[in-house]
């Protein structure tokens, strides 16, 4: 019973914060709501026995990515007055589309097999994930370092101010 309660609580929080993300007028508020959403999802990871991933999630997303967003928003100095809005009709249409997509996906996944949980305590710890990561998936792991380098170089090149001759 309590399990269901925990799940329900976490889910409600995440859905609510996600809705607030897209409906907020202020970009800053959207960022903050998104952080809350990430925390709830991290909570989900915890109850799903994926401890390592939960921590990594918080560090990477809430700690790095959202901070980046905040920096950008502050640097661009966006405030409420200059916030552009779409006409009401289009907003309605987008909500309807989103809802429609949800329904379609639900219907297409209706035929999915039922899965019953497997008991495995040791899953999700740093050791087990690390073992799989560094044995089966070591090559993609090394490639991601290359990916980061290219992303870094790209970001620096793009954001640099043009040198005036």
């Amino acid at each position: 019973m309590s399990n269901t309660l925990i799940f329900a609580l976490l889910s409600t929080l995440s859905i609510f914060s996600a809705l607030m993300v897209i409906f907020s007028r202020n970009a800053m508020y959207s960022v903050l709501y998104l952080v809350i959403c990430f925390f709830t999802i991290a909570g989900h990871y915890v109850i799903l026995n994926a401890h390592f991933l939960a921590i990594v999630h918080i560090i990477v997303y809430a700690g790095a990515i959202m901070v980046l967003f905040l920096y950008t928003i502050m640097m661009l100095n966006l405030n409420r007055e200059s916030e552009p809005h779409k006409p009401m009709l289009l907003k309605l249409a987008s909500v309807v589309t989103g809802g429609g997509l949800f329904l379609v996906l639900i219907s297409s996944l209706k035929t999915a097999n039922q899965i019953s949980p497997v008991a495995d305590n040791g899953m999700g710890t740093v050791q087990s994930v690390g073992k799989v990561l560094f044995t089966d998936y070591v090559f993609p792991f090394e490639i991601t370092s290359v990916l980061f380098i290219s992303a870094m170089v790209g970001a620096v090149v793009l954001a640099k101010k043009d040198v005036v001759q």
Binding site: A93, T97, V104, S107
Partner: protein, 645 residues
Amino acid sequence: MKDIVDQSAQFALSTILIPLLPLLGFTINAFFGKHLSKTLSGALATLSVAVSFILSLTIFFAAQNDGFSAFSVEVFEWITAGALRIPMEFYIDQLTVMFMLIITGVGSLIHLYSMGYMHDDEGHNRFFAYLNLFVFFMLLLVMGANYLITFIGWEGVGLCSYLLIGFWYKNQEYNNAAKKAFIMNRIGDLGFLLGMFLIFQNFGSLTFTEVFSKAGNYDLNDGMIVAITLLLFVGATGKSAQLPLFTWLPDAMAGPTPVSALIHAATMVTAGIYLVVRSNILFSLAPDTQHVILIVGLATAIFGAIIGLRQNDIKKVLAYSTVSQLGYMFIALGLGAYSAAFFHVMTHAFFKALLFLGAGSVIHAMSGEQDIRRMGGLWKYIKVTGITFIIGTIAISGIPPLAGFFSKDEILANAFAHSPLIWGLAVGGSMLTAFYMFRLFFLTFCGEFRGTEEQKHHLHESPATITIPLIVLAVLSIIGGFAGVPEVLGGSHWLNRFLAPVFADNEILSHSAHHLDHNLEIMLMCISVAAAVIMITIAYVVYVSKSVRPADDQHQPGGFAKLIANKFYVDELYNAIIVKPVMFLSNALYNFVEVYIIDGFVNLLGKGAVGGSRVLRLAQSGNIGFYFFAITISILVIILINTLS
């Protein structure tokens, strides 16, 4: 059997060389003629035809032997498609040999003549190229072993006729005359083609020997045979200028005179007669068609003669004379006298070529003048031409012992055996022939000179290359008739005996041969000769003693004479009935169908593409939000379709 194989092997090379040499001459003159000197290109062309003549002579002499029989030489396998097998094959029998001799013999004389006549012309090498090409196609026509090879030659001579009539292409009228000749020929060719289709459908083959051997299975006047023969006759009508497809021949005089001599007197126009004589078995099986041929030939003979009475251009008179004489040949064909028809082809080739070449010499002496009203008294200036011309005129009028008498008389005898009325009409035409030919002679050579001083100053006899062919042809016109002296006059009719194997399989012909009483035949001869002499005398009285001269263009007489002088308005009739409606239809089709329907449809496609793209490009609004929407909805639809199916 062995003899046939031996002959075929013995003469295979000659047979292939005979048409090949003129083709070679054509190629050399066409591609390199400009680099050769005029004499060289002309000599080359003449030589190629002359060598073909010598080779034909060898086959001819071999044919005199008793052991000779017709043989085929297959050059290569041409068409093999299912049941249809048409090889490129030559079939040499006595008929072919005689035609080959005429074509190459008279042809080489005319080539020699052209060397002098066309010497000052700038298109010299082109002329000889076309002449050689013509000889090649004509040989193909007579030597072919099946209807298709003959048809190739048929079409080819039509093409060369077009090229040569319109030789001086810078003159638009000459071009029109050439086009007229070609198009009228085409109408006849359609008949020939349909006839070939029917032949193939019924006999399963186009090769002569195969078709004729199967022809015996058919009854007399079988509908299919009548249809085939009628269609073949339509083809012959176009090519041999019979009613109603004859108006191209007088217009074809626009070409140079050697062309008129070779093509429109001696060879191409006789192609129709060759076709009928070759298919004699089929025609003998269809007496209905033969009646049609007889009527058409008779009408043409008389019609042409009447028009010739009032023509004032020296070449036009000869042209209508050709039309009339061709009518006589078709009369013979209609009576089943195939050998007589060929005899007349041969003698006509001699004296008509002679007359045309003589006319050319006259025109040359008169510095290009062709109207006989402005000639006269030329006898003392151009003696050789005059002498040969009178020989030709006497020959065509049917005075013995020149060539025309024997051939024409054989036709008349056959006509009388069939029906005295036809004989009477034919004799009438013969009288008209004598009259207008001597009118031509008297007006041209006798009396006083009626031309300009300038022309009189330039009057001179033609060079040797022109006069030698004239003399040779005159000699042939004199002795040519002796090839077919009938028994009634003590001869043994060598030609009939020589050509007998060609008609050996034609049982109907052998059953229906006419035999007249000898006395009756001699009486008929005397009557026709007397009639001709009477007409000559009348012509002499009118044009020499009384010095009647044809009226100038401003003073044309009225009534019947005007009708004749205007060629019975046949050209105008054709113009109104055929040409104008076709032009009207063509214009209507262009202005309505072409512009609105076809162009409209094509333009519609273009406009559709442009309009469609104009609508489609609105999707590229550049608005990213719209793009997202489009992506999302597309994914939605795809997943939906996937789930539902």
